[in-house]
Symmetry: C2
Subunit: 376 residues, 2 copies
């Protein structure tokens, strides 16, 4: 990491040259504001003048017009690249990057710092550029396996015998709401790597059983979506503590309108009784955060919205408990099935967990519970 500071960027280029690096990749610092110094610093290091690229100016102006905004003078700065450099187009943002053969031995790439812009440009332009120049003959290809319902350390101890393999390698990762194992193979082509990966993936799947839910771009929401689509079944949700987070997760999947009808955010208890048919007596006796209330929410929304499945969530996201003194992190979730059978579960996410995380995990486990019921 290097600051927005020309002398510090120059010393970084010194290091790259001293290491005889052949490729130097910069991300960030390509924007319109005075602290965006990357291109200027690179050009001045190699004493090369900056020239305005007409195509970039036009592209930026078009993008601003499309969003109904006017280009400001400082945006023209983004069109300056060192003489001799090639523009690396940015299909989804305003700041383009560049590819520049700065010296015989050193090629410099710049990308904007916005991750999704950078990734897209890397895939679309930089990778093909490098491949035609002989890079990337031997490749590393990975399959990221995703798990829910098992802790990182438990999963790791079950597959520990795979961690010392040289090729493919297996490495564990934990992130918000899931545990992952990355199976990576080094090979001469993607098909060859996939062949090396397949038996290891199969072995892990056999060990993990239904705690494995998908790989790579799969999410709990995409998997549940495919399952519902395959069965031609529909879903609705009734949310209290997640406040819409489950619906938002479900509708994050393009095409979810074919199986998701909608839901009721019943944050207030009056909404739970009036719109979901939750019994006031149960709210008073058991409290809003109880399996009986979650069950009535799931059944209520399923019946109101006339869907095959209904999910109800009621919990304490914290940082404070409700008047029942139930622990923060206690979340009751219920699933109503096409035959009006309801099952429920109480999750204890831990009183030390942050509000956002408790809400996020609640939505994940609501989907995971449905996934398990939909799995043959």
């Amino acid at each position: 990491m290097v600051g927005d500071n020309i002398p510090r960027i120059h010393s970084l280029i010194d290091v790259a040259i001293a290491r005889e690096s052949q490729i130097l990749i910069f991300t960030g610092g390509l924007g319109p504001t005075p602290d965006d110094l990357t291109t200027e610093a690179i050009a001045s290091y190699f004493q090369t003048p900056l020239v305005e690229n007409v195509a970039i100016v036009e592209d930026i102006a078009t993008k601003f017009a499309k969003r109904g905004r006017t280009m400001t003078p400082n945006n023209r700065k983004q069109a300056l690249i060192p003489e001799g450099a090639t523009v690396l187009p940015n299909p989804i943002g305003t700041a383009p990057g560049m590819i520049w053969q700065a010296t015989t031995n050193l090629t410099i790439f710049t990308f904007p710092g916005v991750p999704y812009e950078m990734k897209r440009m890397w895939q679309d332009t930089a990778v093909p550029h490098l491949k035609t120049r002989g890079w990337g003959k031997s490749i590393i290809h990975s399959q990221m396996m995703r798990f829910r319902g098992i802790g990182e350390s438990t999963l790791a101890s079950k597959v520990a015998h795979l961690f010392d393999r040289p090729n493919p390698t297996v490495a564990p990762y934990a992130s918000k709401g899931e545990v992952k194992l990355r199976v990576s193979a080094k090979a001469n082509s993607i098909p060859e790597a996939q062949q090396l990966i397949a038996p290891v993936v199969a072995e892990i799947q056999a060990i993990a059983g239904n705690d494995y839910f998908g790989s790579d771009d799969d999410t709990l929401a995409s998997i549940v979506g495919s399952q519902l689509q395959a069965r031609q079944q529909t879903l609705s949700v009734a949310e209290s503590c997640t406040g819409g987070g489950l619906g938002s997760m479900v509708t994050g999947i393009s095409g979810s309108s074919s199986y998701f009808l909608g839901g009721i955010i019943a944050y207030n208890n009056r909404i739970k009784t009036e719109f979901l048919g939750v019994k006031s007596a149960d709210l008073i006796e058991q409290g809003a955060v109880s399996e009986i209330v979650a069950e009535q929410m799931a059944l209520g929304v399923k019946q109101k919205f006339q869907t095959d499945w209904g999910i109800g969530i009621s919990g304490i996201a914290g940082p404070n408990s409700d008047d029942t003194q139930k622990p923060v992190g206690m979340v009751c979730t219920a699933w109503a099935s096409p035959d009006n059978n309801v099952v429920s579960h109480t999750f204890l996410y831990g009183e030390d967990r942050a509000r956002d995380l408790i809400r996020y995990l609640s939505a994940c486990d609501a989907l995971d519970g449905l996934r398990r019921q939909l799995t043959p």
Copy 2:
């Protein structure tokens, strides 16, 4: 950045020693799995044995028990620290860190890689530890000013005369759904820094007007929440393309139950007519993504839920349009006020924007529109 690799971690310590660094801070690699090598690598570099810390073992066992899980043998690994090191407790996760005076001149800190655990431990333990040892006498204190409704380049050009100031400095940032200006002062104390910052903040506020919505930990949801609380007014939401994302954003604020009653996720058009009173004729003639439909959604949910305010959102999140061929990124949002007045606006987020981003920005602007109506 350094890989999970002992020789590479050793060369990193070599670099720190060659630079005569007095403090070396590691994050990550403290977990239970075999690729978590940080502590082991540090101990072996200084040829110091690892010893099991009984307090850590007990703490981890307690935390597992609280979440209803069993500690696996590999979790014991997290209790190993170099002889002579002090445990840096982790109040919200299992992996603790350490503070270790490795040599007379070098103190090593380790933190888990999970950002919210690391930040909490840094604030709670590392900062006080360093302060008592004479560090941090001169401090840098910042106020992060937050804006919505103005682009980064437009804002930057309006405050360009402030970018060259030495103290406090002003630096622009852009992130998802907002533009930020960080005003930072170097001083001997926080109050002294605040005194330097105040006039610059006031000047920027005057320039930006209502596009400035808050600073530091403020969010659009927290600001709208405070405004509603101050007026003792309530809110409900009717969401189509955001699928619950707006409700989720509103309920991300602890205490939101005092002003947020809930909402209807009307993803399907049948739900829009049956539960929100949207007219079928308007859905057919204008399409679901139209201001007239958004207005009926806002009024419908406000009346059904008996709240002071109602918000309706209907849009095309992409990647595909609906059967009307309206552009991806077109989102119609409406606000119904306590006197049943409804205003609406059509946002064009751009066809090149990702589905998630369009949904996120839609929720931000729905809140921002309410904020502007609630601002005196």
